[in-house]
């Protein structure tokens, strides 16, 4: 039913966007590829030289790199289950009938954390989790917990803010899934069984799966991207206890000035991201469809 359109017309419509995105999204990657094959230190620009795959070898055998990677996935592995558990709980409460006005207000307030500037979340963390005059210790009954200066506590604090900011997202995605369940089907199921769990598992879950897949893919990508909030809150410290992969690459490239090595790390991160996205899409979307 759709008429064929001349090549020239198609290009006129889509060309500018493709060229624009290639210029800012692909050209830099090509340049990063070039940099990654060189010794390229910002403080020693006189001796930029081709060193082949040496940077890649350094990265692949570098404990620090894999520790940062492991830390990143540990964060994902702890924060995401919490976000899904709380998010599902919130979605189910919002899905129940009644209290329309209050539910509308709750949904609006859920929007706030998601939209908050990530850097501001980090700054808020600095103020609220301060050991001496932070409100968190006060609310914990005058506790004297050193949040920012202790490796384990700092990590817990990062988890807290990640969960605070992204549980609403998970909740609203899952709520969208719950509202897709046809009303009659859900009602019929509720007449059959009194068990909320049975309804959730056999009636609602199939409608939640696409949303859960989207959450899994996006949270994985976003955790690999995580920078702003942690940078303003802990700068990766104390020590390297909260140095996630993006922070580590930033440190090597801009505080260690080794652009060649950082570029190799970035390329490897890019490959891991693309492979993960492909796996997720192949494995899970097949399940869903």
């Amino acid at each position: 039913m759709r008429g064929k359109v001349a090549r020239k017309t198609i290009f006129a419509f889509i060309g500018p966007a493709v060229i624009g995105l290639a210029a800012v999204g692909i050209a830099p990657l090509v340049y990063a590829l070039w940099t990654s094959l060189h010794f390229y230190n910002l403080t020693k620009l006189k001796r930029v030289e081709f060193i082949g795959l040496e940077n890649y070898w350094t990265v692949l055998t570098d404990e620090v790199f894999w520790q940062a990677m492991g830390r990143t996935f540990f964060l994902l592995g702890t924060a995401l289950p919490l976000q899904i558990a709380f998010g599902l709980g919130i979605a189910l409460v919002l899905h129940q009938p009644g209290l329309t006005l209050l539910k509308t207000l709750a949904r609006l307030s859920l929007v706030l954390p998601m939209a908050t500037t990530y850097a501001v979340v980090g700054l808020l963390g600095q103020v609220m989790f301060n050991q001496k005059f932070g409100v968190v210790n006060q609310l914990l009954g005058g506790a004297d917990i050193n949040w920012i200066g202790d490796p384990t506590n700092a990590f817990a604090m990062i988890i807290f803010w990640d969960v605070w900011q992204w549980t609403p997202f998970v909740a609203l995605v899952l709520l969208a899934g719950l509202t897709m369940v046809p009303g009659e089907v859900e009602e019929a199921a509720r007449l059959e069984t009194k068990s909320k769990w049975t309804v959730l598992r056999y009636v609602q879950l199939p409608f939640l799966l696409p949303g859960l897949v989207a959450v899994l893919i996006l949270r994985t990508a976003d955790t690999l991207k995580l920078f702003d909030m942690v940078f303003t809150l802990t700068r990766g410290g104390p020590g390297s206890s909260t140095e996630f992969i993006s922070l580590m690459i930033q440190r090597v490239g801009f505080r260690g000035f080794d652009q060649g090595l950082a570029s190799a790390q970035a390329i490897i991160l890019l490959i891991i991201t693309i492979v993960l996205a492909q796996i997720y899409i192949r494995v899970f979307y097949k399940e869903v469809n």
Partner: protein
């Protein structure tokens, strides 16, 4: 959390709020209140801290009742130059959004209306841009900008923000164009209208809600961005989040001022997010969830 159920729960038809039961749903009520408190409290703390003098802000344990002052806002805006960074952020966010729309809307129209080879691949490429960590682009972009003398210029951020704005605009607007009946195009073409005229005169006015939502997203993402701002600007084009972070240096941190700056940064995005709240989830998932 999931099991808190009002006694009437299984009788009431889901999704039919009209059939409400009279019994008070205390459990649900309490949970909703707690959710709201947790979401809103950090903002309450941010705003109240921004109204404290440094002495009050550093009291331990923190005080909840005090005499508010606007001094932090005055100092931050007019003495420390936060105003200029807010203007920079505004210029950058508006320009990059406009550019994303100019490039993205015709592309979205082509993806929605034309059949051509490689369409799926193009699609996949647009989406993968959402996944790529900005640090991957930040390193080479910094070197390129440095070589071209483009560091600390607005245009640099305007261009690099396209890497996330353009995919968002294309995604949302394509979706919107698809929803417009094809008959309209057909009729206009019989009248002799070109594809461009069809897009501009017929489809675009109908697609305006999607265009507006994608513009809001593009604005929010650009306004919120920190890393590129930190790496690619120094003074002239410094963005507001980068400014807020630069207060963090030194020993005695000006907490009131930091929170005042944070409040100024966050308020516009919260307003926009509330306006677009219905579409927020769709935008954040790039349409994966309706």
């Amino acid at each position: 959390m999931a099991v808190v159920s009002p006694a009437t729960g299984e009788l009431a038809a889901a999704g039919a709020p009209a059939r409400r039961k009279a019994a008070p749903l205390w459990g649900q009520f309490a949970i909703l209140i707690v959710i709201m408190l947790i979401c809103v409290f950090p903002f309450y703390w941010m705003v109240t801290t921004s109204l404290k003098t440094q002495i009050v802000a550093l009291e331990a344990p923190p005080v909840w009742i005090f005499e508010p002052t606007l001094a932090n806002y005055r100092e931050a805006l007019f003495e420390d130059g936060v105003l200029r960074t807010l203007v920079n952020s505004l210029i950058i966010a508006v320009c990059t959004t406009a550019l994303a729309l100019v490039l993205g809307v015709p592309a979205a129209f082509a993806l929605a209306r034309f059949e051509f080879r490689g369409k799926r691949d193009l699609w996949f490429w647009f989406i993968t841009n959402r996944m790529v960590s900005p640090i991957v682009l930040a390193l080479p972009f910094f070197l390129i900008a440095r070589n071209l003398g483009l560091l600390d210029k607005h245009i640099t951020l305007i261009l690099i923000y396209l890497t996330f704005n353009l995919p968002i605009v294309i995604w949302i607007v394509t979706d919107q164009f698809r929803g417009i009946p094809y008959d309209l195009d057909e009729a206009a073409r019989l009248e002799g209208a070109s594809q461009f005229t069809i897009m501009r005169r017929i489809c675009l006015p109908l697609a305006m809600p999607g265009v507006a939502v994608s513009a809001i997203f593009s604005f929010i993402f650009s306004w919120n961005e920190l890393m590129f701002g930190l790496i690619l600007t120094r003074t002239e084009a410094k963005t507001a989040p980068a400014m807020a972070v630069s207060f963090m240096e030194g020993y005695n941190l000006p907490y009131g001022k930091i929170m005042a700056t944070s409040t100024l940064i966050v308020i516009p995005v919260l307003i926009f997010a509330l306006i677009a709240s219905k579409q927020l989830v769709r935008g954040l998932t790039m349409g994966a969830v309706k």
